[in-house]
């Protein structure tokens, strides 16, 4: 038994705070978990989406390839069209995401006539080399993302987006 006597007032204070806190937590926990659910929801990995771009027509010059897929946004399911910049590096197919790593605008290959061998973002003049490497001194802080890409029956199929693997 310690000598620190807990007064009746303190004991009641601790007990009431504890029980009250427990009840408040029981009330708030479901609501907070409900609110943060979008952060914790598992997204299923996407399948490859077939495009109408023939593989044998892809050259070393990036071309814009659109692809349409079904997007489920909570209760709203719709067809969404995205695009990728596709080119060949030797025999290897490469598909880069057009989303600028600065603030998310859409980049174009040779969008600036003065620099025809680079990707160009019109929003803040961000530039990238052909492999997605951001040009130092322009706003982007990282290279363009890359799509998983494969050939299906002679056509380009686009998969999920991943970090750029071409830039060393």
């Amino acid at each position: 038994m310690s000598n620190n006597r807990v007064s009746r007032r303190q004991f009641l204070g601790y007990t009431l705070t504890g029980v009250g806190g427990f009840m408040a937590a029981g009330m708030l926990m479901p609501m907070v978990r409900f609110a943060v659910d979008p952060v914790l929801q598992q997204k299923e990995g996407g399948d490859f989406v077939l495009t109408d771009q023939r593989v044998d027509e892809v050259t070393e010059e990036p071309v814009r390839v659109d692809f349409t897929f079904e997007q489920t946004d909570a209760w709203y399911v719709s067809e969404v069209t995205s695009s990728a910049w596709v080119y060949k590096e030797g025999d290897k197919l490469i598909a880069l995401s057009p989303v600028c790593k600065h603030l998310g605008c859409t980049v174009n290959w040779a969008g600036d006539p003065e620099q025809p061998n680079r990707f160009f973002c019109p929003c803040h003049a961000g530039r990238y080399e052909k492999n997605g490497q951001n040009v130092p001194g322009t706003p982007p802080l990282g290279p363009l993302d890359e799509y998983d890409v494969q050939e299906q029956d002679g056509y380009v199929a686009i998969g999920v987006v991943k970090a750029n693997t071409l830039v060393v």
Binding site: L28, M29, M31, R33, F34, A35, D37, A74, W75, Y76
Partner: protein, 224 residues
Amino acid sequence: MLNKLYDWVDERLDITPIWRDIADHEVPEHVNPAHHFSAFVYCFGGLTFFITVIQILSGMFLTMYYVPDIENAWQSVYYLQNEVAFGEIVRGMHHWGASLVVVMIFLHTLRVFFTGSYKKPRELNWVVGVMLFGVILGLSFTGYLLPWDMKALFATKVGIEIAASVPLVGDMIKTLLAGDSTILGAQTLTRFFAIHVFFLPAALLGLLAAHFIMIRRQGISGPL
């Protein structure tokens, strides 16, 4: 640590008298269930307020997913109930709590009536209480439509027809509620939503403040 933080603020703003005014008040023996168990009837008002707080909180969280639109309302309710973690609990709190508020406010009214607490000098607080009862019923009525299912639709049709039976101005009230003279649809849902989450809660908070200020000023009525 918390004590130090409190002292730091208190030293500058002298907040102790403020919360003492709010929190420190005597509970007379005749309303304390620890002395007479039957005094639990004096808890109904506080319980009504407690459930009202739960209603406000759960409602705030529900609007993170709910859409007041005839195309999406039912779908968003279905989604938040079945696909979002604890959705069934949060919607359940709001759904069952809604009925419980009406039950508790009714019991509270009975207690005030049978203890004669409405008599002079507390008549004004009774009047505010009746207005609060009306606001709560309004919240129940407008909230009932929001899931936009069959029950909601037809309950609101009936409710609006009842309002339309008022002599002379009935048809105007009907159009005012539904947003259209014949259709119960898109405009009805957005109106009811606005009334349910903005107008009536604002009135509720104002009336509650008046209710509480008056009871604190006048004190609880004496024993029978």
